[in-house]
């Protein structure tokens, strides 16, 4: 265990001050307890001039003596009072000093305490902040995960909806593809001369299904004529009212490969 040197010093100083104070209290108690001496004032029975003079002189001397004693007494009293006052003042001063010291000490202590408290508060605040931040971070992470999960779910849902929609479009496109196939195919007359030959056409359809354009992409000229005629013969091919389906139908690459 280690003593704070300041604390030790303070302790010593205090001990001394306390001792001094006790001693001073002992000093001041005595003068206050001293009793006043009463002297008989009237004792003579005859009076002569001399005697009166003497007596007057004596009286004056006694009076002076009395006065001197009283003055002395008064001075003593004043002195004692002064001492007492001084002691009191000293005590007061000391007390004030002590109080001041104590106060200062207390203030210091208070400051220290406050500083410590402040430090503690700060520390705690920091810790709290840290905890808060961590919690916030955690929450944020959690939120993020949740958001991600939600997003994934949303995406999945969207994908599912999209898939359903796409599937519907796909089904429709397939249906129309089959219809278009059979509408064209019925005009293509098989000929063994076309065996192994191929023709590729591009067909552009209006939203009404009207064949806008038929162009040959390549292949056997005779077979291409047959294929082109088969398409032209239809004039109008079946298309869907659904614009999304029509989008998939408006541009057709037809391959005839017999």
């Amino acid at each position: 265990m280690k003593f704070d040197p300041a604390l030790a010093k303070s302790f010593g100083l205090h001990s001394v001050i306390i001792a001094l104070l006790l001693i001073s209290v002992n000093f001041t108690a005595d003068p206050i307890a001293m009793p006043v001496q009463n002297v008989p004032v009237i004792e003579a029975t005859f009076i002569d001039a001399q005697a009166i003079a003497d007596k007057k002189k004596e009286d004056e001397r006694i009076l002076a003596e009395q006065k001197r004693i009283e003055d002395q007494k008064r001075a003593q009293q004043r002195k004692a009072a002064d001492a007492k006052r001084r002691a009191e003042a000293k005590r007061k001063a000391e007390k004030a000093a002590k109080d001041k010291r104590l106060k200062e000490q207390k203030r210091q202590q208070e400051l220290k305490r406050k500083a410590a408290q402040e430090a503690k508060r700060k520390r705690e605040l920091e810790e709290a902040n840290k905890r808060k931040a961590e919690a916030a971070k955690k929450q944020k992470e959690l939120d993020r995960l949740q958001e991600e999960q939600l997003e994934a779910e949303r995406r999945e849902q969207a994908a599912r909806r999209n898939q359903q929609r796409n599937q519907q479009i796909l089904n429709d496109v397939e249906r129309y593809r089959a219809e278009i196939y059979s509408r064209i195919q019925r005009h293509i007359i098989d000929d063994p001369a076309f065996k192994g030959k191929e023709c590729r056409l591009n067909i552009k359809l209006a939203s009404t299904g009207l064949v806008i354009k038929v162009s040959t992409l390549g292949g056997d000229p005779a077979l291409c004529r047959v294929a082109e005629n088969a398409v032209v013969r239809e004039e109008k091919l079946p298309v869907s009212d659904d614009p999304a389906v029509y989008e998939k139908l408006k541009n057709i690459n037809l391959t005839v490969k017999l």
């Binding site: 005009h187 293509i188 098989d190 000929d191 063994p192 005629n229 391959t255």
Partner: protein, 455 residues
């Protein structure tokens, strides 16, 4: 908890699935099969602009050719909406509504020299309907009237006696334009007619006719059997077997000069002469060594080479288009089946396994298929099988079919068959869908042989 990876996989999968949809790609439609039918075409009677009577018909010949090919169904003249003679007179939509995609219009006029000018145009009326006959295209940087609805237009000066032949020529043009394959309407067939011996002194006749049986020309008449005519690749000669000397002998005869050469006179069988693709050799069947075997002979030197050596019958040789192998019929497996012999290595391989018998094989010009006589449940029919094996496809329903011979464009087979107790010639397309019987001759008709391209 959702497995993100699974979702991601799903998304990727779906993207993969719908990528063709999502992308602005064209819808792909593939047609691999046509309708089993004949194409409607219209051959408008050619307008006669001259005076007097026409020496011959042309559009009738074309109509018959196209119909007989089995590929076309010409519009009946009575059902035609109009009778134009040039493209400018054609009402395209009226013709399109007859169901015909293509029409042929033409005219015939006489020339000061006494000949005839024949003009014709092949018109794609559907295309013309779209372009209104006025399609334009860039040529040398200028927009010109391309008239791409006119598939072809030609004119020719012909003699009075060539009307029929010119009709076939036009048929060839139309056929080639519409099918992409050379027509065989100008080819001929050689065959043997056996007339009633009570009426004819020389009942056996070797004749040549147009492929449709018209313009029959007798090359040879004989009191004794004539057999197995076979065309030389240049179309100028026929090899055949004649019994005129009371035994079979192989002859080669030029059909234009009628000059003939006796090639073989071996004891026993001298049969089935067939020219090699280069025309320099003749494959044949001889039994001079005791049994019916396949031989080849160098025509110039008459040098013989024995190809088969088997105690069973080997007969009916036929060249592969590359001239490196022969198909032949052999009974080495018990019943007749088709075998193939490699002329370089002498290696023999059996080619047919289906049916009770397969005989008289001949190879299509593309070298892919062989046509033969198949016997199944006692019935002889013309059938087809891929050379490299596969199922036998029976093509005919006629009776006692024999001697198939393939047109040089590979589209038709001519063969002899029994019809009402008489042997007649019949045509069947190589896929068996189109059948036609040639006009009956006065007598039994057998051993048809289709000529190569002649013109």
């Amino acid at each position: 908890m959702i497995d993100i990876r699974k979702v991601a996989q799903g998304v990727v999968l779906m993207c993969g699935l719908f990528a063709p949809l999502l992308a602005n790609a064209a819808l792909e439609i593939v047609i691999t099969e046509g309708v089993d039918s004949a194409r409607p075409v219209a051959i408008v009677p050619f307008k006669w602009k001259g005076s007097g009577a026409l020496p011959g018909e042309i559009s009738d010949v074309i109509n018959a050719d196209l119909r007989r090919s089995g590929k076309f169904n010409p519009v009946n003249t009575a059902n035609m909406p109009q009778y134009p003679s040039t493209d400018s007179e054609v009402n395209y939509s009226a013709w399109a509504s007859t169901g015909a995609d293509t029409i042929v219009v033409g005219s015939i006029s006489d020339t000061p020299s006494g000949q005839y000018e024949v003009k014709f145009e092949i018109i794609d009326v559907l295309r013309a309907q779209v372009t209104n006959g006025k399609s334009k295209s860039l040529q040398n940087g200028n927009l010109v009237l391309s008239e791409d609805h006119i598939i072809d237009s030609r004119k020719a000066i012909i003699n009075a006696q060539d009307f029929r032949q010119h009709g076939h020529r036009i048929s060839d043009v139309i056929y080639e334009k519409l099918t992409g394959t050379r027509g065989a309407f100008l080819t001929r067939i050689a065959y043997v007619i056996v007339r009633d011996s009570k009426v004819y002194d020389l009942p056996f006749q070797l004749v040549i006719a147009d492929y449709d049986g018209e313009n029959e020309t007798r090359l040879l008449s004989s009191p004794e059997p004539l057999m197995s005519p076979s065309w030389s690749p240049d179309g100028e000669s026929l090899a055949y077997v004649s019994f005129e000397n009371r035994r079979p002998q192989i002859y080669i005869q030029n059909i234009y000069t009628t000059k003939r050469t006796k090639l073989t006179d071996f004891p026993g069988i001298n049969g089935s002469p067939v020219f090699s693709p280069d025309g320099k050799q003749l494959a044949m069947v001889l039994s001079k060594d005791g049994n019916s075997e396949i031989y080849t002979m160098d025509i110039a030197s008459k040098q013989l080479r024995r190809i088969t050596r088997n105690r069973n019958i080997d007969t009916e040789p036929s060249w592969t288009p590359d001239g490196k192998s022969l198909l032949f019929t052999s009974e080495r497996g018990g019943k007749p089946q088709i075998y193939r012999v490699n002329l370089e290595t002498g290696k023999i391989r059996r080619q047919t396994f289906e049916g009770e018998m397969n005989l008289g094989a001949t190879i299509a010009p593309d070298g892919q298929d062989m046509v033969l006589v198949n016997r199944t449940r006692g019935k002889y029919h013309i059938a087809k099988q891929a050379l490299e094996g596969g199922a036998i496809q029976v093509l005919t329903r006629t009776d006692l079919d024999e001697s198939p011979s393939i047109a040089p464009n590979g589209s038709m087979i001519i063969y002899s068959t029994l019809y009402n107790g008489t042997q007649v010639l019949s045509l069947v397309s190589l896929d068996g869908r189109f059948k036609a019987r040639l006009p009956a001759a006065n007598g039994q008709v057998k051993s048809p042989s289709w000529s190569p391209y002649l013109f």
